[in-house]
Every structure is written in C-alpha cells, then in structure tokens.
C-alpha cells in the first residue's frame, strides 16, 4: 500500500516538473531583470546602446548558428532557404558587432561532423558558401572587414577553396574588423593539428620538449590568425546547450550565452540582450575579484 502511494506520488511529481522549470533554468536570462532600452539605440561606431558600456564590450564574439533547418520547417520553406536566411543573418550580426566596437567575430559555419548529413544538403551548403562569399567580396572590402576561413578544408570543393583564397587575399590588410568562418572545423582536430606541428618543429630542432606549454600550443591553433584567439563570449542559438566540438581549447574562460531563438531570428535585440548579459557577469578566471 505504502509503495503504491509512493509510486503515485513520484508520477505526480514527474508530471508537475515542467511547471517548475522557470525555477531551475538559469543562464544569463535569470539575471536579466532589466529590459534593454530599444528607443535610444543609436547606430554608429561611437555610441553603444543605452545599458551597454563600450569599455566592457567583448573583443571576440563567437557564435554557433543553430536552428536554420528548424526555422525553415516552421516557416514552411526549403532547408536551403533556411541556410540562406542564416547566411544573411550572419552578415547583419557581424556588421552590428563591428559597429559596437567588437574586433573579432567567429562563426561555426560547418562542422567536421556535418559531412554526415545528406549529400544533397551538404552540396547545397557548399554552393551557398561559394556563392555568398563571392558576392560579398566587394562588401567586405568596402567595410574593411578581414575575412579568414579556418578548418580542415580537405574535403571542400576546389571552387570554394578558390573563392576562400581570393577573399582572404583581398581582405588580409584590414586590422580593425575580423570575421572568422569555421568551415569543416573540429575543435579536437585543431588541437591535433597543433600537436603535429609541434612534433614537426621538435624534429627540426626548432623547439625543445620542455618548451611545450599552453602558450606554445595556443600559438599553433588555427585561431593564431587573430590577435584575440579566445572568444570572450560564445552565443549558441536554438536552445541547445552544448559546444558541439567548436572551439574547445579557446573556450576555456569564455562566457556562454544560450538563446532559445532560432538563428535566422537572432536579430539586433537578441544580440544586445546577449551583450547585456555578458557585461553583467563577473569574470574571475579562477581567482577572487
């Protein structure tokens, strides 16, 4: 009798758990008691929106652009249209970040694991990257945005490789704004590649085993293309709360912001919300402040 009663109570508890969710979940959002003041936002390179402080802006923001397919499904569109909307959103996102004084924006465009997706979907993604990058070369030049592409790149089509080389060459002299696209990227392979580079240099007598430390390894990662290899803030959209083999090493002390919004819907207001959450956080790096 008692065990039956306990069983029924347990089931009741399980059914009620979803109602208790607001008590449990807390990312930056639980601390976000203040709303962002939309009315006084001024577009321009000098004035950050009200509620944000320029000196507390992150130098490097990374983003995992999740939710394009779900967005397309919800809107009754094709998957390729979802990716198009996602690409457009990335350009707007990057532009806005640069206007707010953020130096580096990196985006997880295509993971090594994504090769397992349907061949047609992968092909259409590669074609999208090619078309979009080619069409935006002049835009990046006019805005003085340096573009770098990191990743294994072993399997991507030659035509896309050509565009990547072209866009990197055309924008390599720009310093103040840097857009890094991670294509065919894996955090673990980045570390493995750094390890292989260290082995090679060690065999060539360029470094000794005792010289191998965290600073040296970090310099061998693909993010060596930027002055700020470690993102201050990582944003992941669509509600999933995991890193998915993006920057593993580089995210050691990054603030993580998980938004339930799908990537194509991650507009200016959502970005400001993420930045406001970031600026409210106390970053201790293991010490006491």
């Amino acid at each position: 009798m008692l065990s039956l009663l306990c069983f029924l109570l347990s089931l009741l508890f399980l059914l009620l758990l979803p109602c208790l969710r607001p008590c449990f979940s807390a990312k930056g959002s639980l601390k976000d008691k203040k709303k962002i003041d939309k009315g006084t936002y001024v577009v321009g390179e000098e004035e950050p929106p009200k509620g944000l402080r320029r000196e507390l802006m992150p130098r490097h923001v990374a983003v995992i652009m999740d939710g394009n397919r779900r967005w397309a499904k919800q809107a009754g569109l094709l998957t390729s249209q979802g990716y198009e909307a996602g690409a457009k959103r990335l350009i707007e996102f990057a532009e806005l970040c640069f206007k707010l004084g953020i130096n580096t924006v990196s985006a997880f465009a295509f993971s090594t694991e994504n090769w397992e997706r349907h061949k047609i979907e992968v092909k259409s993604l590669m074609y999208l990257f090619q078309r979009y990058l080619k069409s935006k070369i002049q835009f990046f030049q006019s805005k003085e945005i340096r573009v770098s592409v990191i990743g294994n790149l072993a399997k991507i089509p030659e035509s896309l490789l050509g565009i990547i080389t072209e866009i990197e060459d055309a924008t390599k002299s720009y310093k103040k704004k840097h857009l890094i696209l991670a294509i065919d990227y894996s955090g673990r392979f980045d570390i493995l590649r750094a390890c292989k580079s260290i082995v090679k240099k060690s065999e060539q007598g360029l470094i000794r085993e005792e010289d191998v430390d965290e600073t040296l390894l970090e310099r061998e990662l693909q993010t060596k293309c930027t002055e700020f290899p470690s993102p201050d803030l990582l944003i992941r959209t669509s509600g999933e709360q995991r890193i998915s083999n993006f920057f593993l090493w580089q995210l050691a002390y990054s603030e993580l912001f998980f938004s339930p919004v799908l990537w194509p819907d991650f507009d200016k207001d959502k970005l400001l919300e993420a930045l406001a959450s970031y600026q409210r956080r106390e970053r201790r790096f293991g010490c006491r402040v």
Partner: protein, 296 residues
Amino acid sequence: MAELPGQIRRMSGGISQLIEQIYGFSRRCLFRVISMGPIPSHLAFIMDGNRRYAKKHGLEDGSGHKAGFSALMSMLQYCYELGIKYVTIYAFSIDNFRRQPEEVQSLMDLMLEKIKSLLEKESIVHQYGIRVYFIGNLALLNDQVRAAAEKVMKTTAKNSRVVLLICIAYNSTNEIVQAVKKSCINTSDNMEASGNYKHEDRDSDIEGTDMENQEKRIQLVDIEENMQMSVAPNPDILIRSSGETRLSNFLLWQTGNTQLFSPAALWPEIGLRHLLWAVLNFQRNHSYLEKRKKQL
C-alpha cells in the same frame, strides 16, 4: 517530570528518522521510474558558489566550503542511487592557486581532512564501492595532500561498482598539453624503435612522404589515450551551480558534445530537483545525441 524533555527529544528524533526513511524510500521509487528511460553514465560538476553561500548566510569564511562538501555527499548519493557510474567534480583548479595564500591553505586543509575521511569505514566510498581517481597535476599539491590522495587511489583501486574522479590542481589546457607532450615522446620513441631517420633533403617528393608519415604517426586516439581523464567516458551532462555559464578550463576536450546545465542555486543549495531536471533534459535529447555519437 524530569524525564519529559528527554522523552520529547527521543520522540522527535524518532519522527525525523522515520521521515528520513520515508523520503529515502520515495526517492528510490522515483529513481526507479526515471531509470526506465536512458540514464547518463557520467555526470560532471563544477561546484561554484560556496563562498557566496557563506556570505549570504552570514557565516564565517570556510563554512561555505564545508556546507558545499555536505551538498557534494548528498549529490553523490543521489547519482549512485540513480545508477550513474561516473561522477567527476572540479575540486580545485590550477588557477585557484592564485587566490589569497590564507584561502588556499584553508582549502588545502579542508581537502586533506575530507580526503582522509574517504577511507573511514562509514564513508560513502565503502557504502557504494567507489573507485576514486585524483586527476590533475598532483605535483603542485603539498606532500600531505598528495600522499593522502595517492593512498585513497591505491586503497580503492579494486573497487569497480562506481567511480569518482576528483579534479584537483587541474585545468584542462594543462591536461591537454601533458597529453600532447606524452604523444610527442611516444611518437619519437616509436620512430627510433622502427629505425626511421630524419630527412634533411628538401626534395618535395620526400617532404610529401614525410608529411604523410607525420599524418599517420599521431592521431586523435594518441592524444585521447594520454589524457588523464581517459579512465572515464566523456561526460553526458556538466552541471555548474550558481548560475555562471562558463567552463572555467574544465574538461574542455571531453565536453564537446556534453549537455551543459547551469542552475542558479549556489553549490551548497544544490539538490535532488536540479539533478532530476538535468537527467530529464538528457533523456529528452538522448536519441539525437546517440545518433551524433555514432557519426563521430
């Protein structure tokens, strides 16, 4: 009349024992229901918020960490009752050595006391047959703490039911560097053993072969097996208390596909409901994550 207060005390003691037993029984029933679905095999915790807890309750310095230890014991009990085999905790980071010396010393003293208590007969180690690993750069610890940690590892080496990994003097970038160094040493040793010599010739064909050989020499599995955390599978869930949402250089290599959960509760306030919420969310995403694991 003089016996009355004593009787009341005995009665209230008996009632609270009864309530505890009913609670324990209900909890185990609840776990049985939940374990009809997939259960994570490895849970990791970043135990953040002890000092803020002490401040919030007006306690003296150090009391927060003691309260945190009690919360840890409860959480371990829940995890092992639920059937989770591996639990990893971030006890002390290499970065924490940069705190005030008095605080570091007090933490070391507390850790020494608690590590020694693991070997007592009534401890949770014996109750659940826990094998304990201390993961980190143990050379950075003082002799007493290091010796106590090594003794616990040796004493529990034969236990196999469940595993507790205590990350102490640890950070993930240090773990990765040590694994990379070991991989490099193993690679050179293997190269010497197989009689391969360096090519100084700049001929592109030979360089190409060199690169190809290098590509084959070190693989992901070489780095992985040299990681200290290779004694456990990758965590399924990482819970960080106190609402902070960052990894703080913890298990960076291992948490690529781990579900992250950051309840607002300070670590001493962490309870069963947080664990249940994390596990239920894990169950919700389980089939998708299993598909991803197979793809890797």
